[in-house]
Symmetry: C2
Subunit: 431 residues, 2 copies
């Protein structure tokens, strides 16, 4: 049933960077906002790999959505999973009910794509959610534990081989961080194995690492990775992934731990909105980020295909989602106030950033290109800056500084699924 | 097969307070120590309830066993689950192999006891492990979410009713912390419900809360809890626990969240050691903490029944386990060095501590008895002191101070089993 309230209702699906920015931009607008997310927290994804490598805790980079909007009276948060959208009746159906919308903002993000090989997912988890990060952490740390207990040197080598598939920023950062975990953090912890004997292999189908960066910086990144002992293989296609090994460019590599950082896809939009989507599931939106033929439905963030320049689309990164969210929020505020609609969305590319281990980073911001330690300091400052106002940035900064200065051990807890399964299988005992 | 090494091998089962203290006391002894634990971390259990109530993160109160012994060359850590002990052949069998011991230290701790009603466990989780804490956190936070979405006021009330069974320190601390979560942390977060309408019921079968404390302090604790809005029911026996309600002293209380803080039991010792155990599974040890008739097997911590005074046993608390571990380590060091064995173990009771919410505590140390804010400051200082040298105490102190000063929201992430199950049921989507 259509809502009879006078204030227009804006429903936002997803509390990622795009959804949050849209809701915040509507703070002073006379609208009722309903944010629907199936998790109760917003996740600062750019630092998720540091949870996977045990440098940070989940709580350092995630915070409750309700807390963020505690002071914004026009926001109502619903913890539920969206099941369908009826664009005719203007209703979103979620697990706990229906909600009518005057305007819908779809900011539902993306998930991993295994390019049709979905059975690889089990053996090669990707890194999108907190559970992914803790699962990868568990696998990485358990591999060292299993190597320590291995009966044969062959099995020991297999346990100490880590393959990261995909050399975008996430893959590069994971490879660097695992190398440092093995070379530094775990030093002295084992008696039978030497963690720095670990083999870390970074596999990229394209011709170079960090394909979105200028070529010179790609070379620097590769050199930094190799200095950390990472075996970088570009132009190498993955042909198979099993629980025992991976096959890369015809070579069978026995490996216990495989991490997927290669592709993303967008789910549900075709069925939800009844529109065509591109190869990865994105909706090609109008210049004002609405869906063609549906002026009251906007799609933003990873879910939207927005043309940029030189035939490229706006990249699927946090700053882009934020800009699109802010634009959409402002546009709706203008519409509600019966002001002139803003001019079409224009993406402002702030640059590309990636870290390699604890004291090197790659920065490309327009004419400004930098790599090395100074770049790492800037990378840290930029991330701290983006955390301000949302989540305890001081804690994250302290973690970094203390990890850096004291080479501390970080949050190396093995929790997650195996531990949880153990509840039911084993009689509990105090640790 | 007996080991042929010259240095005696000490096997320690469990890396809790007792096991760690024993290993540390053997630091300079010419022995090989093998610590077997089924988890890779030591847990600072006294603060575990703060993880359950989202004030701290798991990584704040747990740290890798390997990291603790990284610099102690004679310690070997095995991440595995003990399956059996052969006291004739002096062999411990675990999931990944067998290990011979010259001396065995059993420091395996305790688990929850539901007094024979094991089917209550599912509805009333206890608080012993990190997964317990995150599960309780999930249930508590989800109850507010479900109340917000509830169709009827009856269901809303049921979701907002929290029953804590057992009023020892853990139960009292949980009740106080949930009251503060509802009254303070969640304030302003919901639109349909008012979290401070939550009913928190603390049920105790005995005549008073904190039964191990002097009577006057029990009264103070009760008053503090009632000031926070906790409904304290002493002399009230729990008769039934279901997923829908609990029955307390004949009264049926609809409640969605029930937390068990009542009883503990010790597992496995009878079968492992082939000895008689007491009602809760503990082994009555000799004055030197060895098992009667087995001079090379010590039992310490919660697993040991050690007489204290006035017919009481040494309590199952961290300082007691630490003292027993230290004593056992020193005793073995003396034996190995062929020095005189130390005099029998004597427990030094340091006192009892409990907090009630964020600015009140109850302290009883010999003649020194205190309650209120100053007691809370002492409680904090004592815990920070015990964390020093093991785990980032500065972070914990900062969390407390910032929670206290800014009434901050803490680590209110709903993760854990339901979220993990969701991996398999739902198509992943960015948060």
């Amino acid at each position: 049933m259509p809502d009879t309230q006078k204030r227009p209702r804006v429903v936002i699906i997803g509390a990622g960077f795009g959804g949050l920015a849209a809701a915040k931009a509507l703070k002073h607008a006379p609208v009722d906002i309903e944010i629907i997310d199936k998790r109760n927290y917003h996740l600062f994804q750019p630092l998720l790999y540091q949870v996977a490598t045990a440098d940070l805790s989940p709580a350092d980079i995630a915070w409750p959505i309700r807390g963020i909007f505690s002071g914004q009276e026009n926001v109502h948060v619903t913890l539920s999973k969206v099941q369908s959208v009826d664009t005719e009746r203007q209703v979103v159906t979620h697990e706990s009910g229906d909600v009518f919308y005057d305007h819908l903002i779809v900011a539902s993000g993306s998930s991993h794509s295994y390019f049709g090989k979905d059975h690889w997912a089990e053996h090669a988890p990707g890194l999108k959610r907190i559970v992914d990060a803790t699962e990868i952490r568990r696998r990485v740390l358990m591999a060292f534990e299993r190597a320590e207990l291995a009966d044969t040197s062959k099995e020991q080598e297999r346990q100490l081989t880590f393959v990261i598939i995909g050399a975008g920023p996430t893959g590069v950062e994971m490879a660097g961080a695992i190398a440092e975990l093995a070379n530094i953090s775990l030093r002295g912890d084992f008696r039978r194995i030497s963690p720095d004997n670990a083999r870390i292999i970074l596999v990229e189908g394209g011709p170079r690492v960090l394909g979105a960066f200028p070529e010179r910086l790609s070379g620097k990144a590769k050199a930094s990775l190799e200095k950390l002992g990472v075996d970088v293989r570009t132009g190498a296609l993955v042909e198979d992934v099993t629980g025992d090994h991976v096959v890369v460019a015809g070579e069978k590599i026995p490996a216990a731990t495989v991490i997927w950082a290669a592709g993303v896809k967008v789910d549900h939009l075709e069925t939800w909105l009844g529109v065509d989507t591109d190869r990865v599931g994105r909706v090609a939106v109008e210049p004002d980020l609405t869906v063609p033929g549906m002026p009251n439905v906007s799609v933003i963030g990873d879910a939207a295909k927005v043309p940029w320049k030189d035939g490229f689309d706006v990249p699927g990164i946090a700053p882009a989602a934020k800009q699109e969210g802010k634009y959409t929020g402002r546009r709706l505020a203008a519409l509600v106030a019966r002001k002139a609609a803003p001019s079409p969305f224009r993406y402002r590319h702030l640059g590309n950033l990636a870290t390699i281990g604890r004291n090197s980073a790659i920065i490309s911001m327009g004419w400004f290109k930098l790599s090395g330690f100074i770049a790492w300091c800037i990378w840290g400052a930029v991330h701290i800056y983006f955390l301000i106002g949302v989540k305890r940035p001081l804690f994250v900064a302290m973690s970094w500084v203390s990890n850096y200065l004291f080479r501390s051990k970080g949050a190396r807890l093995i929790t997650g699924m195996e531990g949880l399964r153990a509840i039911h299988l084993h009689v509990p005992k105090k640790g």
